[in-house]
């Protein structure tokens, strides 16, 4: 599939008038990838497809000029669609190279299970329901479900639905919604005081690096409310109350846009379980509006659409 991808990407640059290719290259750390953004047709030879291609590349479309060929897993493709709905991306200006996704390996989970760091692993291979990890020549097997990102376990569209080119064979969803929302269930089972305490504690760790916002394809505001000073919505002092407010408002802003790619949680250097907020918000959006983000590019974006039947007394 990699060879095919490289061939297609080269063709796009050479023949189809695409200015940039956005994909994944091998990263500098073991078991990592890095976004490859290039207009060099030779450089596309370093494109890779792997269970470590964690970034949601749709995020880069917001800041890129010209026509872009983008490598898209299911979640990337949904985020591209969501950006099209919000008029942030023009459909004709992107060529979506769809890549069916096997589910992504969460290296932090492997590290925890094996009690080793990523640079101490010799090899990690996804083999269907088992994942083989080799450490110092010793083979250990873990259930694949234990090493995949939680969002991958519940992903409904590992194969992109919106694409121009689809590589390889479509893949089925893993469909373990219960395991995918285990952390959320744990939070739901708490009494409100406990839950409040949990988030108070977690958000006291926030250092306001804004990686959650910067990595997110749904956070496309040119100026974030955090940076407004008239009025000032939250304090720039990193204290838990304001950190909580930041996350609450951010989640309301991405409601109907978040495709549960899990990048906010993965990027967080303080390991704050941010997906428990964003996934819950997606569920509430689904329950309340029967709406799933990034499914239909021709449908108006959730928060920009209004129908007469939705009229409430307080709205004239």
């Amino acid at each position: 599939m990699e060879q095919e991808l490289r061939k297609e990407a080269r063709k796009l640059l050479e023949e189809v008038n695409v200015d940039y290719i956005v994909g994944f290259a091998r990263g500098s750390l073991k078991f990592s990838t890095t976004p490859l953004i290039t207009k060099d047709k030779e450089e596309v030879a370093s494109l890779v497809i792997s269970p470590f291609m964690v970034n949601n590349l749709a995020r880069f479309l917001i800041e890129m000029p010209g026509r872009v060929g983008i490598v898209a897993k299911g979640c990337d493709s949904r985020s591209v669609v969501s950006l099209i709905q919000d008029n942030q991306v023009i459909r004709d200006k992107v060529v979506i190279i769809g890549v069916p996704c096997s589910g992504l390996i969460d290296i932090a989970k492997v590290e925890k299970l094996a009690n080793k760091d990523r640079d101490e692993f010799d090899d990690i291979t996804l083999q269907g329901e088992e994942t083989v990890v080799i450490i110092g020549g010793q083979k250990t097997k873990f259930p694949t479900k234990d090493v995949l990102f939680a969002h991958c376990l519940g992903c409904e569209s590992p194969t992109p639905k919106e694409y121009d080119i689809l590589l390889g064979k479509p893949r089925d969803a893993i469909g373990d919604e219960a395991l995918s929302r285990r952390e959320i269930k744990q939070l739901e089972d708490m009494v409100p005081e406990q839950r409040w305490g949990f988030w108070k504690e977690q958000l006291s760790h926030c250092i306001r690096c804004y990686a959650c916002r910067q990595i997110c394809p749904a956070c496309f505001c040119e100026r974030c409310f955090v940076e407004e000073s008239q009025p000032r919505w939250i304090s720039s002092v990193s204290q838990w109350q304001d950190n909580l407010m930041f996350q609450v408002i951010r989640n309301i802003h991405v409601a109907g846009r978040c495709t549960d790619c899990g990048e906010c949680e993965r990027a967080c250097p303080m390991n704050i379980p941010l997906r428990s907020l964003s996934k819950k918000m997606s569920e509430l959006v689904d329950e309340t509006f029967r709406y799933t983000a990034g499914i239909d590019k021709n449908e108006p974006a959730l928060m920009t659409a209004y129908e007469h039947v939705e009229a409430e007394d307080l709205i004239m």
Binding site: L29, K30, I215, V237, P269
Partner: protein, 348 residues
């Protein structure tokens, strides 16, 4: 035969920390919070001696916290009554790595030498640093390319090196010597211990596999400063978050803000980052509006501007920026790919 060095049995480390606890707040590497950082020693657990490679949050946070109150104020008649933050308690950091200790020396140049920052100084003068040689450097570490060794430090008071069942202790400063004076658990090291330490140290230095040639870096950076195409390419995947700067042991930028509610409030300062677009925002313009200019600033500050001011590169090769970057933006890769000669392309 005795040497200048001391040693302590590993099983006595807890007792030693106990003795020090009577005089200092003892901080050790801890995983009790979400990520590894320094935390108050609980009086029992020395498990970190097994798992500890380095912390996620660098010890700079103990001198320049991510957020600190500078003073509080209250409306008092026509003026304000100001209450300045208290002097800091005496603290002892046990287990600091040579790279992070050097990071603090770099902060000293900014906060004590060029300008005496009372908030920094009050913590710094009350802190002793006990270094701990690395045993297992990460593949992202490159301290040896910056004139450091994972097992040597001139920036600590005492330096511990694992030599099997014992730690060899080198007394680096007079403060360090004094700390040894109170501890009856400490023995004189022998020539054989010193020899063992030398072997261990050489082996560990060899484990730092990532190499970077820094001799020409400043010159090359100067030459390619206006090469917009190069910097645009290099910056393309950066997401402009604050991770690499916030968690860098040498980055020291901060922002100051006031919190005012009903005629009383406080002034705080917290980490700021040149990666943020607003960092250089001014009413009429922003000299670093574009991402590539911010990325260039970060690299040049560490490898060109700081050396111009202080004659040393503001990077200790700890590798945090590479390990923690959500897009694997790797500074040593970038520095290795700098264009060799001056570019003729113009910035505008």
């Amino acid at each position: 035969m005795a040497t200048n060095n001391k040693k302590i049995s590993k099983k006595d480390v807890a007792k030693l920390l106990d003795i020090w606890s009577q005089q200092f707040s003892v901080l050790v590497p801890s995983k009790k919070e979400n990520v590894a950082g320094l935390a108050m020693w609980d009086g029992v657990d020395i498990g970190f001696l097994e798992w500890y490679r380095n912390t996620v949050i660098p010890p700079k946070a103990n001198f320049l916290p991510s957020m600190e109150k500078m003073f509080s104020f209250k409306k008092d008649g026509d003026g304000y009554h100001i209450e300045i933050a208290q002097d800091e308690p005496k603290q002892l950091i046990f287990g600091i790595r040579p790279c992070d200790a050097r990071g603090i020396t770099m902060l000293d140049k900014v906060f004590t030498e060029t300008y005496e920052d009372p908030y920094y100084v009050s913590k710094r003068k009350n802190t002793v640093l006990i270094g701990l040689s690395c045993t297992n450097p990460y593949d992202s570490c490159f301290c040896t390319s910056l004139g450091l060794k994972p097992t040597e430090s001139a920036d600590v008071d005492l330096m511990f090196t694992d030599i099997g069942d014992e730690f060899l202790i080198e007394e680096i400063t007079d403060n360090g010597k004094e700390l040894m004076g109170v501890a009856s658990l400490v023995k004189q090291a022998t020539k054989a211990d010193d020899a063992k330490a030398r072997t261990v140290k050489a082996a560990i230095s060899d484990k730092v596999i990532r190499k970077l040639d820094t001799k020409e870096t400043a010159k090359k950076l100067q030459a390619c400063f206006s090469d917009k195409d190069y910097w645009e390419k290099v910056a393309a995947k950066c997401i402009s978050c604050g991770i690499c700067t916030f968690l860098c042991p040498t980055c020291f930028c901060f922002d100051i803000c006031d919190e005012l509610v009903k005629k009383q409030g406080a002034r705080y300062r917290g980490w700021d980052s040149c990666s943020f677009r607003l960092y250089t925002n001014m009413p009429m313009e922003n000299p670093r509006e574009e991402k590539w200019r911010r990325v260039r600033q970060k690299v040049c500050h560490k490898y060109e501007f700081y050396p111009m001011n202080f004659d040393v590169i503001a990077c200790t090769g700890c590798g945090r920026c590479t390990r923690l970057c959500p897009v694997n933006w790797d500074i040593s890769q970038i520095l290795s790919s700098l264009p060799a000669s001056a570019a003729s392309r113009s910035e505008k």
